[in-house]
């Protein structure tokens, strides 16, 4: 790999002998005078990789194996991959529920699903798709990709990462198991009171919904803090904020949105669980409470939530567009500003879900304007992508196809979005299939398609192998056609007045043909998804070897092997532009950081704006404590359904496990 210069000293930590290596940018200007005398000695000695050091690094970063070992690893890529895989499992399960609903609706007065089951199915389908699939899968991609994109070896709090995953796994499993025992919630994915109050929903279903959603959001919050700190503090030297890849920006904005949006669902569902378990009166009008409070709190979270899953997906789109046009992204600054603006504006939109509740008029107009305004930053991004692709030689591989599919679907979803943002129209289609069509266009188009593109794109980095292009294209064709056939007719159904959340309808309503077509589309769509999943599984064994950079992409995750070694990069790279990998391809050489110890987990800490190195952080290694802490927390969350005392029990259990987690290991003196 590295061609050694004759006069270069060999060995890794040669710099110990006191020489200083300047930042490549400043060296020319500031040290012109020293050039002369250094001519004898090379300015930039080649760094040779030495076997001994690599072995030490591997030892320091290796994840434990074995059954017990499964509960211990904290490496960012392992956790990220687990998030992605688990989320896709829920995607399949919730998708099957969607298919079952479509089967039921295929013909009028069908009796495939009884009404109670249908209610449980749409509730679990909606909840699982939003909370168990969409958010975790994008977090998973962010956790997996961003640390490598910014050129670091792990995230800032590796154990917190692991904790978040177990919380998600435990919470979501409990939620889903309730469906099997027939006790799932049946009050819709936004769980409105008073329907979700004790009076109208006496079973444990809603209890489970509230506790488990709160619990799962804890995991989203840990991932968010993790991402924010990692992105701001652990970037490779030279990666100033305005050289940060767009996907990293998108993850950062997503994380900030999670931090400010999720607490509101945590508060609202905690209040609801109190109402249900100890008879408080927050949402009970007879006691002075107010059901509308639930709607405010829920949508203050719920609307940003839509953008939480959209923003990183748009980041994936930008990444893929850059790579497959092999061009610098047009309007980097405009795109970044749009992403940030989307984050802000999305918090001003919550009331647009409540246009039908009769709030004061002036306030409503404000929210109507804000709802229309959100179209602007999204429009800007679309134009920047078009400009990037304009006249470029586009390589139509599967990831790029998914992005093109996304354009089409997302533009329609955006259009219907602007339509329902207008209050008079919204009042017409409120709670009809027009809405169902709209949000599936936005969610599947805006989120699922880019995510599938991202799966094809980063799969080689995750597994070291390529997915089949042929089956990728087949899957795209099925998804694209199936999706439009399934969901486009729903617009018309909505305008014809078909309400959502009905388990059947009468022949005379004239909705039969469109419903039948829609069901066929749903099955084609499902076949498309299935093709991708089989492709992914089969390629683990038979896919061609990927090599470091199969797509000739420009971001840092592609300079290391596929799959990367446990420490991600042999040397932390130093970055001088937005497309470092393309520069290095031209220059045939690249600067790296020396001086991180190989015998323990060290990452480089840099400043927030300019990524100037100023410290080294020693990150913790594998540990069982995050898992035990997650168990301790689960005891509380599940226990309170039976007795309030579990709150106290779990407080102390969690306390002890946190102490075990943070207790410093001897010898301390060593650092």
């Amino acid at each position: 790999m590295s061609k050694r210069r004759d006069d270069a000293p060999s060995g890794d930590l040669e710099t110990k002998d006191g020489r200083h290596w300047e930042h490549p940018q400043t060296r020319d200007a500031a040290h012109h005078g020293r050039r002369e005398e250094e001519r004898q000695e090379p300015l930039h000695p080649t760094v040779e990789d030495n076997e001994e050091e690599i072995r030490k690094l591997e030892l320091a970063w290796a994840a434990p194996t074995g059954f017990i070992g499964w509960f211990k690893p904290v490496n960012q890529r392992i956790i990220g991959r687990r998030f992605i895989v688990t989320a896709f499992v829920y995607f399949v399960l919730a998708g099957l529920l969607g298919l079952a609903m479509r089967l039921q609706l295929a013909v009028p007065e069908n009796d495939f699903l009884p009404p109670e089951i249908y209610n449980q199915f749409f509730t679990v389908h909606g909840t699982a798709m939003m909370f168990l699939f969409a958010i975790p899968v994008l977090e998973g991609f962010a956790l997996f990709v961003t640390p490598m994109m910014i050129g670091t070896r792990d995230m800032a709090f590796p154990r917190l990462n692991a904790f978040g995953y177990y919380v998600y796994l435990i919470g979501s499993s409990i939620f889903f198991v309730m469906l099997l025992v027939g006790m799932a919630p049946d009050t819709g994915w936004f769980n409105y009171v008073p329907l979700a109050g004790k009076l109208y929903a006496p079973g444990v279903g809603v209890d489970i919904w509230t506790t488990m959603i709160t619990f799962i959001e804890v995991s989203a919050l840990t991932a968010a803090v993790e991402l924010i700190v990692t992105i701001l503090k652990l970037r490779a030297p030279g990666m100033t904020l305005n050289r940060m890849p767009v996907f990293v920006w998108a993850s950062l904005v997503m994380a900030f949105m999670i931090v400010f949006a999720m607490p509101s669902i945590i508060v609202s569902s905690s209040l609801l669980i109190l109402d249900r378990l100890v008879s408080t009166g927050f949402f009970v009008p007879e006691m002075g409470g107010d059901p509308l409070l639930w709607q405010h709190l829920f949508w203050f979270f719920g609307h940003p939530e839509v953008y939480i899953v959209l923003v990183p997906a748009l980041g994936i789109v930008s990444t893929i567009v850059t790579t497959f046009t092999q061009r610098t992204l047009f309007g980097y600054t405009a795109i970044v500003i749009s992403i940030v603006a989307t984050g802000f504006v999305s918090f001003g939109l919550w009331v647009h879900h409540m246009f039908a509740t009769g709030l004061p008029h002036l306030g409503m107009s404000f929210f109507m304007a804000a709802s229309a305004m959100i179209a602007i930053p999204n429009g800007v991004q679309v134009f920047c992508w078009i400009a990037t692709m304009w006249g470029a030689r586009i390589q139509f591989s599967t990831p790029m196809l998914y992005v093109l599919g996304f354009f089409w679907v997302f533009v329609i979803g955006g259009l219907t979005g602007v339509m329902v943002a207008s209050i008079p129209f919204d009042l017409q289609v409120h709670d009809t299939y027009f809405l169902v069509a709209h949000f599936h266009y936005v969610l599947i188009g805006g989120s699922v398609m880019p995510v599938l593109g991202g799966l094809y794109y980063w799969y080689p980095k995750m597994s070291g192998r390529m997915m089949s292009e042929f089956w990728g294209k087949v899957s795209f064709a099925l998804v694209f056609i199936g999706f439009n056939v399934a969901f486009f007719p729903m617009h018309q159904l909505g305008l014809d007045g078909m309400p959502r959340r009905v388990y059947t309808y009468l022949e005379e309503m004239g909705w039969s043909e469109l419903n039948f077509i829609s069901t066929i589309g749903a099955f084609v769509l499902a076949a498309g998804f299935a093709t991708t999943f089989f492709n992914a599984l089969a390629s683990l064994r038979v896919g061609p070897k990927a090599g470091n950079n199969p797509w000739h992409a420009e971001t840092l995750e592609w300079v290391t092997e596929s799959p990367p070694p446990p420490y991600n990069q042999r040397h932390i790279p130093i970055v001088n532009s937005r497309e470092p990998v393309w520069d290095w391809r031209e220059e045939q050489e690249r600067p790296v950081v020396l001086g991180l110890r190989s015998d323990r987990r060290e990452v480089l800490v840099t400043s927030i704006l300019d990524a100037e190195p100023h410290a080294v952080q020693v990150v913790p290694g594998p540990s069982i404590w995050p898992f035990l802490s997650a168990i301790a927390a689960s005891v509380g969350f599940v226990g309170i359904l039976f007795h309030p005392i579990f709150f106290v029990v779990s407080f102390f259990l969690a306390f002890f496990s946190f102490v075990g987690w943070f207790w410093p290991r001897r010898p301390w003196r060593e650092d």
Binding site: T46, V229, T280, M287, G288, V593, G595, V605, W668
Partner: protein
């Protein structure tokens, strides 16, 4: 591709105290919790303003004396925490331990007073939404004070074992951050719960 040495970081500190990622992590945690505090305060005000009578007919606003004393104690504990941090920066381990223990004692007093106060509430949480809010919000803050106490007790134990030094004091720094949040979080609750009903 040739790799060359761009910079050497072997001399950088491994102890950075207020630029350490953990510091920012705790700030993130506080941002989340502040949002929760804001949500609870806003919910309280929302329900207060949409009720015809607040507190419900026949009730006086809750007594304000002890909550005010608590506020004083909480603020004082922020000062003693600050002092503890200064002591360890100066390498004074004894001072650190004294400062930490004083702060814990102050928070314990708050818990005791708070327990009496809650026991004396004239209403239960299931009487009306006013009761629900009072119990939930004070309970929320109670739990936070309790967790700040147990966390700081652990830090104190580590301090007695000589773990902290002027360089290695990140643990104290982040514990203080969280401590300050817990103490200061009482301010909005205090204003909303005790002054709100008196002013509207």
């Amino acid at each position: 591709m040739r790799q060359y040495a761009g910079m050497d970081v072997s001399g950088l500190t491994r102890f950075a105290k207020s630029t350490h990622p953990l510091y920012y992590g705790i700030i993130g945690l506080i941002a989340i919790e502040l949002t929760v505090v804001a949500m609870l305060t806003v919910s309280y005000s929302y329900l207060m303003f949409s009720s015809p009578e607040w507190p419900p007919a026949g009730l006086e606003p809750a007594p304000i004396l002890w909550p005010s004393v608590n506020l004083g104690l909480l603020l004082a504990s922020m000062v003693s925490m600050r002092w503890a941090g200064n002591r360890i920066s100066a390498g004074d381990r004894r001072g650190l331990i004294i400062g930490l223990s004083t702060s814990v004692a102050l928070h314990m007093t708050v818990l005791v007073l708070r327990s009496f106060e809650m026991a004396a509430f004239e209403f239960r949480w299931d009487d009306h939404v006013y009761g629900s809010l009072m119990w939930t919000i004070t309970g929320f803050h109670f739990t936070h004070v309790a967790s700040a106490i147990v966390g700081t007790v652990v830090v104190t134990i580590l301090a007695t074992k000589g773990y902290f030094t002027p360089e290695r004091q990140l643990g104290v720094v982040v514990d203080t951050l969280y401590w300050n949040f817990v103490s200061a979080a009482w301010i909005p609750f205090y204003l909303a719960l005790y002054w709100g009903p008196r002013l509207v």
